[in-house]
């Protein structure tokens, strides 16, 4: 399968601190690749290196085979970025912002005007096109930034926390747009804190912590591989001491969650048998019983803890 982004042995130091530590990964053409990690894990630094904003101390990164260090302008020409912190020019109108981006990427005048009109209508900003971005809400600014990124019809789109702090409706619109453009062939590199967003959007996910990649796989495989995070959730008609249930064979951890008790186990089937035996022996009635696959959030926390050595 063709590769859109290829990263080899990438390292970035800020003085004594190693923000990105010898990481390797590939992003396949046409996929949505999620980049997850806690604050300060190295996500934004990686994106800044891949988009040519900062230079790594060592290693290589290539976008559609263009080395970002050796051929930065060719690489930048085929990408677009929605940075975490960067803003649209607040003293320019929405239209002027889009025209500026079109000119910076060498999009012909007629095409950039057509694309700008289409995008502004799609993101419901057309009526505000002649207003300064200064007066836009956070959601409107984020939509404008996404319009600016999509104006150039990039082959690879980098998004750094694109829905952070947005209302539900704006976040959904942006997620739907990412899906749509990906369907049309754009490779998406998505950095996010939002596990559900990553789960819904991404074909594969890399989890980064302390500047190192902890895991790369599809969300489903990551969940399945974390067998110790499978769990059984049970509730009885009477209160039950949690510590008694944690002694059941194969149960690694028991937690009280509301009126239910969640038992983490790598053998859900035998745990269910043990629980029914326990209920019978204590004269309890089982009100509800469910087996749960690990959520992406469970996997994320487990990997981060393992990586930290907890």
């Amino acid at each position: 399968m063709e590769t859109s982004i290829e990263v080899k042995d990438l390292t970035k130091n800020y003085g004594e601190i190693t923000a990105v530590n010898h990481i390797d990964f590939e992003v396949r053409k046409g996929e949505i690749f999620g980049f997850l990690g806690p604050n300060g894990a190295g996500k934004t630094t990686t994106i800044r290196i891949l988009t040519g904003v900062i230079k790594p101390n060592s290693g290589t990164a290539a976008i559609m085979s263009y080395d970002i260090l050796k051929e930065p302008l060719k690489a930048k020409q085929i990408i677009s970025v929605v940075p975490e912190m960067a803003n649209a020019y607040i003293d320019l109108t929405a239209w002027q912002n889009l025209m500026l981006i079109g000119e910076l990427y060498g999009v012909p005048q007629r095409k950039r005007q057509e694309r700008a009109e289409h995008l502004l209508r799609e993101f419901e900003l057309y009526e505000r096109r002649n207003h300064l971005a200064r007066g836009f809400s956070k959601g409107m600014k984020q939509k404008l930034i996404l319009c600016m990124a999509m104006l150039t019809e990039p082959q690879v789109l980098f998004l750094d926390e694109p829905t952070s702090g947005l209302d539900v409706e704006s976040a959904r619109l942006i997620r739907d747009t990412i899906r749509q453009y990906n369907k049309d062939g754009t490779t998406v590199f998505l950095s996010t804190h939002n596990m559900e967003e990553a789960n819904q959007l991404c074909d594969r996910i890399a989890i980064i912590n302390y500047g190192r990649i902890a895991a790369i796989d599809s969300p489903e495989n990551l969940r399945m591989e974390s067998s110790s995070l499978k769990s059984v959730e049970i509730s009885f008609d009477k209160p039950v001491p949690v510590n008694e249930l944690s002694k059941i064979p194969n149960v690694t951890e028991a937690k009280k969650i509301g009126d239910k008790i969640r038992l983490y186990t790598d053998e859900p089937h035998s745990t269910i048998n043990s629980l029914t035996d326990y209920a019978r022996s204590k004269g309890l009635t089982i009100v509800s019983l469910n087996t749960l696959a690990p959520t992406l959030e469970d996997v994320f926390i487990k990997l981060i803890k393992e990586h930290r050595g907890d």
Binding site: Y14, R48, T51, G52, V53, I54, K55, E71, L73, K74, K76, Q77, I79, V81, P83, M85, A86, N87, Y89, I90, D91, L92, Q96, L100, I101, E103, L104, Y105, G106
Partner: protein, 249 residues
């Protein structure tokens, strides 16, 4: 699209210049240090002195072109670093030199426009221009030279605080005004010190075009302005390329 070709990059530099002019010409520091301050400095020098109109005109034009051409350039990079727009520009397929040339073009156009106003004021007051072509070329070269100087002044330290850059740039600008013979002709050993200031050569050109006499030859003045421009541009690009990652981190 051959995005890496020189002409394509120059086109993108003009897009940056257009953006700069739209945003920065009315910013506080630009208005204060580019228009108000040189105006009052001009008044301070001229009021109460019986100076010939030609000498006053040299001062007015010199101050206008020097201060206004250098007012936008130092402000842009720190402003954009602070507003996080610089990161967006750097991630676009535009070379660092093209971003800086864009800033220089914006400063040049602003400075040149303001100096045209000063020229018109001079003509209305009765100044006679003996060589309009030389003056016009001199104004173009000087505005470009000072605009490049302004962008150089924003290169170090790599701060995102515009007032820091404006303060440093004023520390450099004021001594240059005093050693360049803008109001009081320089003679004797002062000439050696004056020769390190690009403003000296523009002042000399204006004297040539109004009073008919100059210390250096016209070609010497042109060559000096071109030389300073190239020096400022090359050094500005080199330092900005080096300090940009620091500014963005």
């Amino acid at each position: 699209m051959p995005e890496y070709q020189f002409l394509e990059q120059v086109k993108r530099a003009f897009a940056i210049a257009k953006k700069d002019l739209r945003i920065y010409y009315k910013r506080g520091p630009v208005v204060i240090f580019g228009l108000i301050m040189p105006f009052f400095l001009f008044l301070a020098f001229s009021i109460g002195r019986s100076m010939p109109i030609e000498q006053l005109f040299t001062g007015l034009l010199g101050m206008a072109i020097f201060f206004s051409s250098m007012s936008i350039g130092p402000a842009i990079v720190p402003f954009e670093a602070r507003s996080k727009n610089l990161e967006r520009l750097v991630s676009a397929p535009v070379a660092v030199w093209a971003i800086l040339i864009g800033d220089v073009i914006a400063s040049f156009l602003y400075g040149f426009s303001i100096s045209i106003v000063s020229l018109i004021i001079g003509l209305v007051l009765g100044v006679t221009i003996t060589n309009a072509l030389v003056l016009c070329l001199g104004m173009i070269l000087a505005a470009f030279c000072f605009a490049s100087f302004g962008v150089l002044l924003s290169a170090y330290p790599p701060t995102d605080i515009p007032s820091t850059v404006m303060m440093i740039s004023n520390l450099v600008k004021f001594p240059l005004v005093f050693i360049s013979g803008v109001f009081i002709p320089i003679s004797g050993s002062g000439r050696i010190i004056a020769s390190v200031s690009p403003l000296t050569y523009f002042t000399d050109l204006v004297n040539y075009c109004t009073e008919g006499n100059s210390y250096y030859s016209v070609f010497g003045d042109f060559a000096a302005l071109i030389g300073f421009t190239l020096l400022f541009l090359v050094v500005a690009i080199k330092i900005h390329q080096k300090t940009l990652p620091e500014r963005l981190s």
